[in-house]
């Protein structure tokens, strides 16, 4: 009964997912570039704390992107398995 509407909603949701994933990659790349710049600048004038923070930030960013692209789909699969039938 609601299948045509659901197909439309799911198509929009898929587009939105692809858009968000692309945006996340762009933001992560820009953030990575920023951290590389920060680390390089820190190393150039002897700011060891600045360099360390830049390395930690870059690693955190990588972990975050991996979390988004590996963990979220797994959560989705888990929730799909939990999707309940009507309890009435």
């Amino acid at each position: 009964m609601f299948d045509p509407i659901m197909e439309q909603i799911l198509a929009i949701a898929r587009d939105a997912w692809a858009f968000l994933a692309g945006l996340l990659i762009v933001v992560a790349l820009l953030g990575g570039l920023y951290y590389v710049l920060q680390g390089t600048a820190g190393a150039a004038f002897g700011g060891s704390r600045m360099t360390s923070m830049a390395i930690i930030g870059a690693v955190g960013l990588v972990i975050l992107v991996l979390f988004a692209f590996l963990f979220l789909p797994q959560i989705g699969e888990m929730l799909k398995n939990f999707q309940p039938n009507p309890p009435f």
Binding site: L10, A13, W17, G31, G57, L61, A68, I75, L79, P87
Partner: protein
Amino acid sequence: MSASIILEFLRQGWLALAGAFLAFALLAGMAQILRISSAGVAGANLWVWQSVSALVSILVLSLFAFLGIPQIVQALQHSLPGAAGCGPISVLGQYASDLIGGLVAVRMLKATFISVLSASIGGTSTFSQALIECGEAIFGMLIAAAAIPLAAWFLGTC
């Protein structure tokens, strides 16, 4: 006959709403991760923690919607005295009990769906309203549990 048509309509609605819930929960999670990464790069600590808590709340609400609501509805439906009296009133009571259960289930899932949408954009007032609606649905079902035997008694029992 008409009750079964309405129940089938509600069942289809439940399935559609559950599918849309799943899609929107995943999108909300992705949006929160995007927010975390951009806030982390910009150095906005508060924003990062807000996003982390929103992500956790989306997960908890999804688990509540998919695991908690069916159990609550089944427990409440068992508490409804569906076949009070005899004859037509018994049949009507059974139909009423089924319809109330279906309506409450769809309403609670809708309220949780709104909660997830609200949590994904950080709207606290909508979030509380949705949870109040959930409580209202449970309370209404409890009142119906008392009303059906009273109606049976008023209309005449065997």
